[in-house]
Symmetry: C3
Subunit: 250 residues, 3 copies
């Protein structure tokens, strides 16, 4: 299952039924879980002094697409799924089933919860704190320096079920609270309250998320989104959602 052109360190720990693609490189100490696919041109466990000799751990049942790059010193629970050309630096720790879109760049020292999805080309600055069940759309940037360049690092905090639409920029130290929605192309300069929609440059509060209706069912609210969308989540998660949010509406 390891392509003959791949270069795999004998000091890496490779699980059962792992596939490693053409021209990929696995460095010393990398720990890859069972049933994981690493596509071609990937490099896992790039050494860096900032990793403090910690290794890279990729959970079971993961799929890392081609041209992706992970530094040493980070860890991902099972079902990590990436697009292509993903870059993830050291000391980022993520929960179950993180999905990272093509070209996304996670800069290191981030905490990421369970079932987070980033779409393509998302930039997660150092020291970001990201909860669970969060969606981040293309070209979003989470910043961290309030007066660049400086030694002050104020990461962004994103709370559970929040949605950040395409090309929004979140300024340093901002908290985006639960179930809030940030409109496309917004510049977020102040904390976003729970369940609110903000949009614009600079972003202003527009309405409650519950007042956004489904295009195909204009009598039904589009949010909280777990009421109508559950593709890709396991039954255990969906049944918790049913208890919390009620029956699926469509």
């Amino acid at each position: 299952m390891i392509h003959e052109s791949a270069i795999v360190s004998p000091k890496a720990e490779i699980g059962k039924n792992v596939k490693i693609g053409h021209f990929s490189v696995i460095h010393d100490g990398v720990n890859i879980g069972n049933n994981t696919i690493i596509e071609g041109y990937c490099e896992l466990g790039c050494p860096t002094p900032l990793a403090d000799n910690q290794s890279l751990t990729i959970g079971n049942d993961s799929h890392i697409r081609s041209h992706s790059l992970f530094y040493a010193g980070s860890s991902f629970k099972e079902k990590l799924i990436t697009g292509h050309r993903v870059t993830v630096r050291e000391k980022t720790h993520a929960g179950v089933n993180l999905q990272i879109g093509t070209l996304s760049d996670i800069q290191g020292d981030c905490q990421i919860g369970d079932y987070v999805r980033t779409h393509s080309n998302v930039h997660i600055g150092k020291h970001s704190q990201i909860g669970n069940f969060i969606w981040i759309y293309p070209y979003v940037v989470l910043t961290n320096d309030p007066h660049p360049p400086s030694e002050t690092m104020l990461g962004v905090t994103i709370k559970d079920f929040a949605i950040i639409a395409t090309m929004a920029v979140i300024l340093p130290g901002i908290t985006v609270n639960e179930h809030s929605l940030i409109g496309a192309h917004s510049l977020v300069k102040s904390d976003v309250l729970c369940g609110k929609v903000v949009a614009g440059n600079p972003a202003k509060e527009i309405c409650d998320t519950t007042s956004i209706k489904l295009k195909d069912h204009p009598e039904l609210s589009a949010y909280p989104w777990p009421k109508h969308f559950n593709r890709g989540y396991p039954d255990s998660v969906i049944s918790r959602w049913r208890e919390r949010f009620g029956e699926k509406i469509i």
Copy 2:
């Protein structure tokens, strides 16, 4: 013409005078036209269930630059030209002489006409419909989900001769009509009328495109652009433009 480090499936159909660069991989069923150059580190025809067993077809006289990636199930007529690190997913079908800029990402299920140019780092969402002679500049995003995350997919439609400037975001289901111009850094929330300039966040109608003058010839309109710009188009196209738009003005 096939580099000794490239891996080419015996089930691929490779035309005459094709060059395949170092460390590139060509999967089963890929059909590459004559006189085409595939640079290094490219992967063509990545298998995916979403391709429904359709192959990848690249027309004659194409040039795919390094680190690019095409899934199975898409097709491109002659003179496809790409930058580096391009990603193109399944079931996208494009006409003649599509140019895709470095880092651009075409997400699949798109219809693209003839002589479309995207500059660097353009994101074309699934189900986009793109006409002919269109220009899309860096960091533009065409979206598709009106209330993310959802199962509703409303692709963007771009009509002939339209121009979308740098870092514009087009919201789901929007139509950008013929000969219109979208200003840099705009958020487009409603349909754009034929021949109009829109700009801002949110974008508003500013003027007719014909009222924008050439910097070096302030007495002449910069639009319709085929009146003064024809680099890279074949004589057959240019002569049709002359019939339609009149003589070249500079």
Copy 3:
């Protein structure tokens, strides 16, 4: 120090103590200085007619990270540092210690001074003129065509010590003067005066940079930034800054 899978032209000039990583390719005529690290999957000196037979020169003590790509015809003085997946085209000439962030794309024909830093995913259009000690943050685009598509090329000029924050777009021909600061997500349509902060879409003058205070020391100005930030600069630079800007304030 040259990985056995790398392909290095015998016509390249490789300095002493140079490391070249797995699957990298070095073309004819490339000149790599001493003590330089080229990581894996890089391609240096890609031939192009636009390079006019000029070679690529990388100075001493440089570090080019994986998946990066440099065309022939450009030159970089010592201590060039890049992130991953960087693309640099022909006829760009840069001074000492340029740092180019992951995914950044320098389009060619640019002049870049000393100690310039770009963060991730910055797009530097053709014909940009960039001074010294400049900071450019993620997803910034420097444009060059005033009425796209056209043959008119008006590059952007950035002067010493300027700071361009995340996702700003600078329109063609604009000059960003010394010590100015462009806010995140701004669209810059007119020249920016020395020492001023501009922000918004379109960007407007907000205040003097000196009126922005340090978060942790609200009695102290954050600008000029060399008064409090000097990580990564050599003593010779720092002592010049001390003469010019006074003692370090924190």
